[in-house]
Subunit: 348 residues, 4 copies
């Protein structure tokens, strides 16, 4: 009954096997390993982007920060949602790498609208040299609230950005979960929809720790490489990143894992819907559920062995009828039985 | 015949086994995994430092940069050798994290003397608010030239630093190789010799990618944690770092690996000594050899399948009698047969 | 009819005379000039703060940035109003100097409430090492909208900050205008109300370019000095800063100038009130007026020679009845006749 | 007998008169004042560079830092002399603004040779992504040791830089003193000799505090403007910078002042040459003298009222025969009588 985070689950055995297989003899370091050659080809094929620059990096914070730094200038402001991971959960890493600031666009169910984005963009750089200049846009897909931008919604955001000459980054920590939910191609969800760079997550979906940074216009590739090194994010024994991504992409393992995680989330949501103490905050669309329930119910679940985050108050102390928010995340390794165990406990 | 770098060799099978074993069910992320509890105890025991703060990080550049940033201020200068890795090989990462600058102390055979250090320290901060202020000292052990500071030499350097109220960091990317060469304890080579923080390397000595940051005075521990996160260096699936370090330290595996690497280096050095075209630049003391040899000989070795770095000129083109420098590094996985093959090729 | 900004007016003749008088023979540089000794005593007396550290700096952006950097850490967020000058008008200078980020507190008439501040503070650092940590609070007095915090309102904000161990900075670019409006002492408006540091403006109120940075707890004074130098803001011929501030404070010149500017603003506001096309956006309290008026009226005023900023649209083009916002600022040198000329033109 | 620094002297009366004259009515701020229009034309004419971008800034540290930041990237290293002001005397301001590091080129009498520069450039960026990349070159003219690069020497340095695609900045804090000593045109000493940007000093030569930043290729002009603002170095009441530079350049006042300062230095050097206790460290070429003399003699001079810096030891305490270094600087306002008074005192 572990629903705390999709970064707390194990790596897929096939990913681990690939790691073991890669641990064989000598290999040139720093990305010059032969597996990386193959990974680059795989990623380009997955994205139908034969010219894309492709790099691996150990986690999402680094992927986002180095990409955004390569797309922006220190006197700019980066547009993102008011609940963006880059704003809330990276301890100023994006500001550290970019030296820029963030402008927060309001959200509904975790999503920015093109109109709000336009309003915020127009609110900046109306002061010439005195104010921050307009920098890139960053979109998170799956959003931090477990919702998903439709392709139309992505296109509307990137079109708005393009109206102002602004490039767009996609924080795809849960890229695979969004993709299988939308049932579209990676190209459709990215460059065909106006996205310029992608943090293509593996860590939350069955890898040990690897993200691909995909840059559709390779003009900024060398800058990215220098910024990655300068951030301490170029790994010497790089083959262990390469091997993870190779196995992750092989035979659509990444899609299978995401489908499984999303399916468990559907199962979980259906079970929750039957429970009259539960209210959904947002309609779950991928592998995450935000819901409200009285404190006493949260407490009963946690006491019973369920593991998940409760927000907005201490589940142990306070008015037992007060509504607190719970977050449930299904990772690839969550089983039907695990979900049923949770739902059985909930039903009491 | 792979002598290019000790970060190009494989991880030790026991380290890999530990990784596989750790890949089991759910574990809290970001360093809250149970293995990390054990690693903390192991490292404290190894260093005889029950109060030390212990953190894991993915590579040496990050370990050095985050530690030095936690020890310095942006208006200071960090004292290090003129061939220090932090100066030459980290693409300004130390400057990025610390916002400080580096003052280079001249070296002989890769080593600073206490007198030269004193001269450089006294040369700084003679200008009040106008000049850089005196920041920490960073020492590399094994040095970048394959030589080793004796305990007396370390003590002389840290004592000099202490005369000016300066803290000392040890870049121990090859800590184990130095330790077995000196045949002393980790405590003797560090805090008993006046060292305040250590980048305790695992990556170059049989891990996939892990370094422990050891902080003897835990007052700066929380700052270190924030700086690590802000640098994108706090891993979510942290157990895979923990498992590496756990296996690395268990049953003195790390010392065994270093002893083996050093032994191969001795074997290699003895063989080279017999070759009249070879001149050693520095007396090898750990697992690295810098030597001079005519270009034609380098070319013959490389053509014959030996892999190592040649510096100071293209080994393919130019005066065949010109002396070029070669660097040979033995990692833990180098075999006696591998060294013999190299020496046989050299003898022609 | 020049109402564009109080930084477009001339310096007071007495300030200029002091500058000329200071231009006599040699004087040690970098703040070691004898006039600075006197200025330090003057400022301490004005603020009833005999221990305060006092420094001069050339403009408000630098004063704010160096003070805030000396009060914060790069992993923190600084709390300020959503229309704060440090957020909107300094091209990321505060972020550059502090390396921190800003958290925007909503405002009514340019002012934060203690409740909103508390909500924002509690919204940060609920994520441990993952999110930004709580940094200082910055309040602007006179606000960017021409309104003034009462002493009670300042005390409520600083008390809220203190509940979380947070220090408070006052951006006093128009300090004098607020002081004479509130008819209180500098001590009452600052340290007696819980303020820790002040950017004490001179530039907008009759100086050529000088602000005093007042630090009530001198523990961070040396850090401030180093950060000022590192920012290129320590002037060699410092006496020309000192002389300005000396004359500014002598014989309450600064208060006289602020009283005059505020009086002209009252005169202007009274005249505007009589005009039925004019709506005040905020009740003017110092020397600035924000008002709405139809485009055709703005156009008529500008064509007639009035100089002021019109926001929210081009005054030349568009629906003549559309309401646009105008900003009128009175500086110390504005005359009664100047205001009357403007009002006469308005009356048509 | 004030020889401590040329930034401790007064401003020229004509500069002060221009300031007073500019203090008249309203003027748009931030560089939009009408005097700046004229200054731009003056500077372009002086440099025979009709396309040059011209900006004013309050001091040399800021001029150097903002210019170099506009010419470099954070992963680069800036080449400069080992006694460069940007290295020794700006408390890491260049590193703060550029985020880059400095590579020190050895000097003789304060001057780099083209050969040494080439050696240093070739020593960097031999490590691909791992090491710092090659950034701009910065030359100081007059050097920090009071010596002057000939036009041939400048051309040799910039040609070397150009061989590697490197741009060159001239730190001209004492530009005028060098120019009149070389008896050449500003164009000959800058863009005709391969210089790309100039910190054109006024502060040390009779202004209150103003430097012009001259950018011959205006492509980086907008970046410079943003960096200047972000550094807190865009002044609101900009006319007071403009007025200084206007008067400084009018009627060759700047050249007259530099000629006078240099002439006093010649007079002083001739006098010192006659004194057998004095040894020159470098042949004085502009307005600065570095000389050695026994401690007892320095002490006698200082006790007698001479004001100048003594380096390498406390002039009050220690072996009376020990040689200490003195630095004497003549500014524009130094009189023949002042020099004679010093020389009389020296003769005893």
């Amino acid at each position: 009954m572990f629903f705390a985070s999709d970064n707390a689950g194990p790596a897929h055995p096939k990913v681990m096997e690939a790691l073991v297989a890669a641990n064989n003899g000598y290999a040139m370091g720093y990305g010059a390993d032969p597996i990386m050659e193959e990974v680059r080809a795989q990623v380009r094929k997955v994205f139908e982007a034969p010219e894309a620059a492709v790099y691996l990096i150990i986690n999402g914070t680094a992927a986002n920060s180095v990409l955004l730094a390569s797309m922006s200038q220190p006197w700019q402001t980066i547009f993102c949602s008011d609940c963006a991971h880059i704003h809330e959960d990276e301890c100023n890493a994006p500001e550290f790498f970019t030296q820029a600031k963030l402008t927060l666009v309001p959200t509904t169910a975790g999503k920015m609208s093109a109109d709000d984005l336009r309003r915020k963009i127009m609110g900046e750089e109306t002061r010439g040299v005195h104010g921050p200049q307009r920098g890139p846009l960053s979109i998170t897909q799956v959003t931090e609230k477990g919702t998903i931008y439709s392709l139309d919604e992505i296109r509307a955001l990137t079109a708005t950005a393009q109206d102002f000459g602004i490039k767009t980054h996609l924080d795809g920590a849960r890229f695979a979960n969004a993709l299988v939910a939308l049932d579209c191609t990676p190209a459709e969800m990215t460059w065909k929809a106006g996205i310029d760079t992608v943090s293509f997550g593996g860590t939350k979906n069955g890898a040990l720790g690897v993200e691909a940074c995909v840059i559709f216009d390779p003009k900024i590739a060398w800058e990215f490489e220098l910024r990655r090194k300068r951030g301490g994010h170029l790994l010497s024994k790089h083959r262990y990143l390469s091997a993870q991504m190779q196995a992750y992409l092989a035979d659509d393992l990444w899609l299978d894992m995401a489908r499984s995680a999303n399916a468990r989330c559907v199962q979980l949501a259906e079970g929750l819907r039957g429970h009259n103490a539960v209210t959904f905050l947002f309609e779950p669309q991928a592998n995450m559920i935000f819901f409200q329930m009285p404190r006493r119910e949260h407490k009963r679940m946690l006491d019973g062995g369920a593991v998940y985050y409760v927000m907005g108050g201490d589940p142990e102390t306070g008015d037992p009828e007060a509504q607190l928010t719970g977050r449930l995340v299904c990772d690839w390794s969550m089983t039907e039985a695990g979900v049923n165990q949770f739902l059985d406990l909930l039903r009491g």
